[in-house]
Symmetry: C2
Subunit: 144 residues, 2 copies
């Protein structure tokens, strides 16, 4: 299999996991902020109908990322919690990185959402290095 093929296959596979990642992250946030994560909350957050959320939750449930009983709030499984934590951290790194690069915050927030899912470990490390060194510099020149 050619390298280009591998590259595009990887990109497609990553895409298949994006929704799952967005959902567990959102669910974790909702639970943290409001105590529960309901279908309607997710529907509002993502701007989709509750039907779409429902089916996605069913799929996540099959993947052992969430548990859900009819008419009950959604819970994260241990696997779901772990994933949510990883995703949250990565999201924060990417967002901070873009901001540190000089991208206006509102733009950075949008771009981070799309970019985060495609950032490998190595690239994430590079982003962290950049933010860290930039922040150390400002320690000496700026108390922000």
């Amino acid at each position: 299999m050619g390298n280009t093929v591998k590259r595009f296959k990887k990109t497609r596979e990553a895409r298949a996991q994006e929704v799952a990642q967005d959902y567990v992250e959102a669910i974790a946030e909702l639970i943290e902020e409001t105590g529960t994560a309901r279908v309607i909350d997710l529907a509002r957050k993502f701007g989709v109908s509750h039907v779409t959320v429902n089916r996605t939750i069913a799929r996540l449930s099959k993947q052992d990322l969430v548990t859900s009983e009819a008419y009950k709030a959604i819970e994260l499984t241990p696997r779901g919690k772990t994933l949510a934590h990883t995703v949250k951290e990565r999201h924060a790194v990417v967002l901070q990185f873009l901001i540190d690069m000089g991208v206006p915050r509102e733009v950075a927030v949008i771009d981070a959402e799309g970019i985060e899912h495609h950032v490998s470990r190595r690239t994430l490390e590079a982003f962290k290095r950049f933010s860290t060194s930039r922040n150390q510099l400002t320690l000496h020149s700026n108390k922000e």
Copy 2:
């Protein structure tokens, strides 16, 4: 409509254009390198069946990005050419940026493929600034 909703809608819309962008870029490359872009070439490049390529080409044709006659090679419309050019340039900027950030080339190639579609104008500019200043620095210390 909430900001979060807008953000996710934007991400979804961007996603819908990714395939189109990948295809016109690949078609432009094939034409440049081999003279023609055929269905089978694209199928091999993306690692999908020729059927998938066929239907995608039909969709791109509706969007006035390519022209295709049965059993003939695929051509880009003026719109398609313009898009291909934009995408190619952005891809190059993102790839170079990742490499300049210290990401190993093989990893950068994969990540760039996923990231490029989510990079806004502002972020692209930030990437360019970084690569430019880094390259100017190496001019003085390294002839690479």
